[in-house]
Structure formats: C-alpha cells, structure tokens
Assembly symmetry: C2
Homo-oligomer: 426 residues x 2
C-alpha cells in the first residue's frame, strides 16, 4: 500500500470515498462499545472469585501479631499484607503503609495534606502563590485532574524512549522552588507502555531540588502486570536513592486493583522512614485504621508476592490476546501508510497511539459517531489539551475479543479517514 | 455511708488507710485491662461473622442498576447500601455518599477539602489567618485531634442536659465569621450519652452563621445503638433545616463500624443537594470508587434498615449487662459519698463520669498503676485539657463482664482515694 502522503489528490479522494462507505456500514450496525478506561474484563475479575470464599467458615480472624482484623486499629496494615507489598516493591515492610482500595486516593491525600498541612514542616502549598508539578506527557489523566483541582500549574515534560526528558526535569526541579512534584508511572507507563531506564531512575535519584518539599510521585501501578516472557526491569528507585542519600524524594504507590478486584483491592504507599513518619502523623488523625477484612482476604488468598506473580500469569493469558488483536490490526491496516505510530508494550494496560498531528480529535469524533467510545482525546495531557492533537490512549482489556476486533477495525478506518481529510485539506 | 466531705479529718484518714490496703491488694493482682477505647467486644464481632459468608458461592456480583461491584466505579456507593443508610438517617438516597470503612476519615476529608479547596467556592481555610471550631464538652477526642492537626482553634461549649449551650453557640456562630464549624454527636453523645432535644436541634437549624462556609459536623455515630426499650428520639436535623431553608448547614455522618465490623464497616455522609455536589466534585477526583465488595456484603446480609435495627438488638443484649455492671457499682459504691456524678445513657458506647474538680487525673494515675488503662483523662476536652480535671470517659463494651467487675471495683476505689486525698489536703 502506498503511503497516504505520497498519493495524488485524486487517489486520496478515491480512497476516502471507499472508506466512507465502509464507515457508513459500521454506523448502520449501531455499535455500542466502551474502550475509554483501563478496566479489567469480567473474565479477569472471575480469576479472583475464590478470594471471596477464603474466609468462609474460618474462625481465626487474627492477623500476624494477634490483632483481630474485625476490630479497630492497625493503622498501617496487617503484617502479612505489608510484607507482600514490601516484596513486590523491594522495600522493607516498615516502609509500607496500607490504605483503602484506591492508590489514587492515597496520592490525592498526599497532595491534600501537602496543600493544607505541609510536608515535614514546610509551608502548606495552599499558602503559596504558585505551586507547579511536572507532567511527563502523554500521561495519566487522573493524575492531572488532581493537580487541576488544587490549582497546581502543570508543565508538560516530553517522554522519550526510556522515560521523561531528564535534562528538562532537572532544569525545572533544581532551579524553581515552586516545582513541588512530578507524576511518574515508571513501569509500563500509562499510556506509552515504556519502562524507565536505569539511567533515568538514577537521574531521578540524583535530583537536587530547589524545594525541600519536592516529591516524586512514583505510581508503580503496573509493577507485576507483564505481557511478555521477557518483562521489563525497573531499577528500584529507593536503591538508587540510597546511593545518593535522597530517599526522602520519593512517594511510591501501587495497588492490587488490577490484581484482585478494581472495586475491592488494597492500595499502599511506600516511603522513606522520615516520609513515613510524616505521612503517618496525618493518617493517624484521619482514621483509626483501614479495612482489614479485605486485607486478610488478600493475604490468605495470595499468601506471598510470588502468589501474586503466579496469579498475574492468568491475567496475562486473558489480556495478551487482546493486545495482539489490536496490534495486529494496526500492523496490517496502518503500518505502511505513514499516518500513525503506536507502542508495543511489554506490560500494563494501554497502547499509546499517535495519529498525524491534528487528527486525534477527529478520530475520537468519528469513532463516537459510529458507537465506539475511546478515552477522551486530549485526556493524556494536562488540562485535556494535547498540543499536537495526536495522542490516543487505547485500552484493550475490557471488551471481548470479538468486540475488540470490531472496535479496532473501526478505529483504523477512522484513523485513515481523519488522516486523508487532513491531507486533502492541507 | 457518710458523705466524704462531712467526715472529720480523722475519719477521712481512717477511710483512706482502709482503701489503701484494698488498693495494694489490687496492685498485687497485676491486672492488665484496657478500658481506653469504645471498641466492640469479640462477642459483638462474632455477631456479624455470617456477613463474611454471604458472598460464598455467589455468582451474581452485580448491584442494583447492574454495576459489577468488583470493577471500578459507583463513586457514591451501590443503590442498596445508599437506601439502607438513607432509611437509617431519614434522608433520600440522593443525599447519601458512601465512603470507605471510616466515618472519621470522611469528616477529616471534609475538613481537609475545606482547608485546601474551600467549601462551595469560599476561600480555603488554609489561606485564612484564623479558623475556629466550637466543641461541645466533654466530647470526642478524635474530633478534637482533627482540629488540632489543622491548627483550628477550638472553643469549649458546655453541654447541658439536652445538648450544647445553644445561646453560646448562636453568639459565636452568628457574630464571628472565623467560626467555621461545630462538632456534634447528637444522639447518645460521646461521652455523655445524652441526646439533643428537639429544641436544640431546631436551634441548630435556625442558626444564621456569619460565615457562609460554616458547617455543623453532625456525627450520628450511635443512631441505632440503643440500650433501652424506650430509646431516645432525635429530631431529624434535615427536617428542621427544611423549615428554615438551611439544609446546607449540615454534614451528617454515620457508619456501620459498631454495627458490623469496626475493622471493615461502611461509612457515609449525608448532605443537602448543594453540599453533595460540592463534596462529589472533590471525591470524584480523589478516587474512582469505594470498596464495593464490602458494600454488597452489607447489603446482602442486612438487606434493609430494619435488618440493621434487628441486628442491633443482639448488640444490646451483649452490651447492656456491661453498662449495668458499671452503673450498679457506681450506685453502690459512690452514689452516697458526694464525690462523683455520672450519666445513665439510653444508648451509645460510654458513661461519662465526673469526679470532684481536680481529681480525674489522679484517678487515671491510680488505675494505671494498678493495671487498668482508662481513656486518657482530659481527652474528652480540646487540647486534652479538662479545665476542671474532673471528666472521665468510661468505655464498658470491650472487656468481659468479669474483667469489667474487677476494673470498676478498682475504679471506684481510686475515685474514693483521689477524693479523700483532695479533701484531706484542702
């Protein structure tokens, strides 16, 4: 197939008319598919159903250490759950605090506390004229929404092949004390799927921030969410920080939302001793303790970090074919046309898709008209504004293979149409 | 028995020496009892064990309306749980938002949001020079801790027989726009056990605050926690507010922490339409949704508000004898001595005990030396400072009857000793 840009106007027109007919046929099918969010499918949720039975008929409701998990207390979580997450994140259990079901909630709270109370005795951000966060783009819309709510100014940082542009990060962080944080999804990044290189992780650890209360929000959501026999390796940022004496730079987060149940998982924060003391000084006033029945269910079902790693193979078996359906379609339909690029991740929940500049919104529009809802185009950028209007986050996990095949066929069609419209009007 | 104050010094000395011998015998027993917190006992927790089995072997994981409770979403809770709590609090389900397991967490968040983001467009409290809360005393230490953390100045409001001194409340609220809130436990109050009269509730509803963002934190923790066949009746504050057009004044909270499991309950906030929209505008950024497996367990176990009311009778059967052990001992040992007064609640978790002024800390000290830990004396007042050093919160639910008998015998002994020490040194 000829690249679209090399076609004559007449060829483009003919191709477009052909596509338009196909598109109309799609519209006549009245599809109704939602590919907007990174949600696990029903089959994935079924994998953890035995977890709901694990306390059935049990009489021993005590966690390690003897605490009755049905009663108040155990602010930072039960020991067995702390150990599992400590193993997954390669930290000590003392550096783990277990929360409710949402790691987003824990990130939000860290920022809310920083705004209202300040980090380790620093001035509360709400009292400052200006607070800024660095946002590697494309990134996760829910991170950006938190900043937007608190009026935190967001600065786009381009993502490179191996992580954020660290020269730019360093420039901002080390010279501007109103820069208080950066959002990172360091492994199987949302949405690009890339994993930060060791050099990038070391560059983070080596930052000398102008602001004492600058924190790296290290959202390691996909730490065990592999889609490959040769999974990506992420250097442990706390190890890198130890070499620099900079362990207080990092708040790390993860959860079991995409391991057990998105609607009933366990979230944790990992942090240095000093950060943990600071976070606990707030948390201990906020609550008497998290839901520990859910914790015991997880502990007695998964037992260990290895138990979780084994379980994740079952998720992979369900997810990988879906990624392949999408990627195969992209390869077949789009790879030779010179109108798109896309990532081929080793893990995580997303494929990041770039159209020609200025085409992404139109693709979203065309898909929606034909009954397929994508992640809102632009959402992968702060303020919902993709400056080049080209990035689309593709979330293949929730639909069935059949639905996905339909949706991706339509998607490719819409990409072609939007590209031709652009080229013909250029 | 003669009142202690009417005794001669010699009689007091003789009585004290006798008590001291008894006290020494107690110390030799090396007791180790914790009466510090309002925790349910093991037997109470056992009552809800079938709730853990209710999803066993179930395949229908959809809540009313069709949402899969294992997946993301349903920010404000599943319909069946909203309906149960709406019934309990006598509001509409639309006025209910379900959170995690801790109503304290929801109160904290409301204040944290007000501090960092502001209520309904008002200036965030963190930007103001001074923020004050009214604190009916004695009250709940964890409410006060939140204010202390945020640097909110607390003003003591004396509790009367039927609720806070409303003349004083009105004086502050209507004339000082730095007064932003008041803590209330309107039913079976912590620790006094009293329930606000209809007049008091109406006086709250009729407040015309100087501050637009003044809110009543209506912690209805013990709404169904009766200890009597003639339970107290609390006027619905939203009904009273409707008459005044003041529904935006109130955030109401409750939870199932002392209905099902303290370590795995469900918390809710109830609020007016405008408040709910404001709270949700924050909550929707904070999380994708609460733990809904726990919600479905509650819904399928309790079914309705009446299901909860029936269940609470079982709690009463376990708790009431414990309150009686304490009250009987107080009646027998102390009522004639003119050295103490105490409440006789129709519900809730506490008995509020007043020593002679200046004696409470000494009672706490003596009890602790003999191995019985009480709620930290002073904790029922802001900043842990009881100006008269007389109030002690007695929490009878957690210990066994046998332990409680020992503890209360010791307690009475310590009250007598501390009183005599005071009288002899006067």
């Amino acid at each position: 197939m000829k690249q679209y840009a090399s076609m004559t106007h007449a060829e483009q027109k003919a191709e477009y008319d052909r596509l338009l007919n196909e598109y109309r046929a799609f519209c006549d099918q009245h599809l109704s598919l939602d590919m907007s969010r990174g949600k696990p499918s029903n089959e994935q949720l079924e994998l953890s159903m035995p977890m709901l039975d694990v306390l059935h008929g049990q009489h021993d409701m005590r966690a390690e250490g003897g605490v009755d998990i049905r009663n108040y207390g155990q602010l930072d979580g039960i020991p067995e759950v702390k150990r599992i997450f400590a193993d997954l994140l390669e930290v000590e259990p003392d550096n783990i605090m277990v929360g409710g079901n949402s790691s987003l909630n824990m990130m939000f709270d860290c920022i809310n506390w920083a705004e209202a109370l300040g980090i380790m005795g620093c001035t509360p951000w709400a009292k400052l004229d200006k607070v800024k966060f660095l946002c590697p783009v494309p990134g996760y819309d829910r991170h950006f929404s938190i900043c937007e709510l608190f009026g935190i100014e967001m600065i786009n940082i381009p993502m490179k092949e191996d992580g954020p542009d660290m020269d730019l990060v360093r420039e901002y962080v080390e010279n501007d004390d109103s820069v208080k944080g950066i959002w990172c999804v360091p492994k199987y990044s949302n949405p690009t799927g890339i994993t930060y290189s060791d050099d990038v992780v070391r560059a983070f650890a080596a930052l000398k921030p102008a602001a004492k209360d600058f924190r790296i929000f290290w959202d390691n959501a996909y730490c065990v969410h592999h889609l490959s026999d040769t999974p990506d390796q992420l250097l442990n940022i706390f190890t890198a920080c130890k070499e620099q004496g900079s362990e207080d730079l990092v708040y790390e987060f993860t959860s079991s939302s995409k391991i057990s149940f998105s609607g009933a998982g366990i979230a944790v924060v990992a942090a240095s001793k000093a950060n943990m003391a600071d976070l606990k000084s707030k948390r201990t006033i906020q609550t008497i303790g998290p839901n520990k029945v859910v914790q015991l269910m997880h502990a007695r079902y998964f037992h260990t970090a290895d138990g979780i790693r084994e379980h994740m193979k079952k998720h992979r078996a369900l997810i990988e074919p879906k990624f392949n359906v999408v990627l195969d379609a992209f390869d077949k339909e789009l790879s030779e046309l010179g109108i798109a690029s896309y990532t081929r991740p080793n893990g995580g929940y997303f494929i990041s898709f770039d159209t020609m500049p200025g085409c992404a919104s139109r693709v979203g529009e065309l898909c929606k008209q034909a009954g397929v809802v994508l992640t809102t185009v632009g959402a992968t950028f702060p303020y919902g504004k993709d400056p080049e209007d080209k990035n689309i986050r593709v979330a293949p996990t929730f639909p069935s293979i059949e639905e996905l095949s339909q949706a991706v066929t339509l998607f490719c069609l819409c990409v072609k149409m939007a590209s031709l419209e652009k080229l013909m009007n250029a």
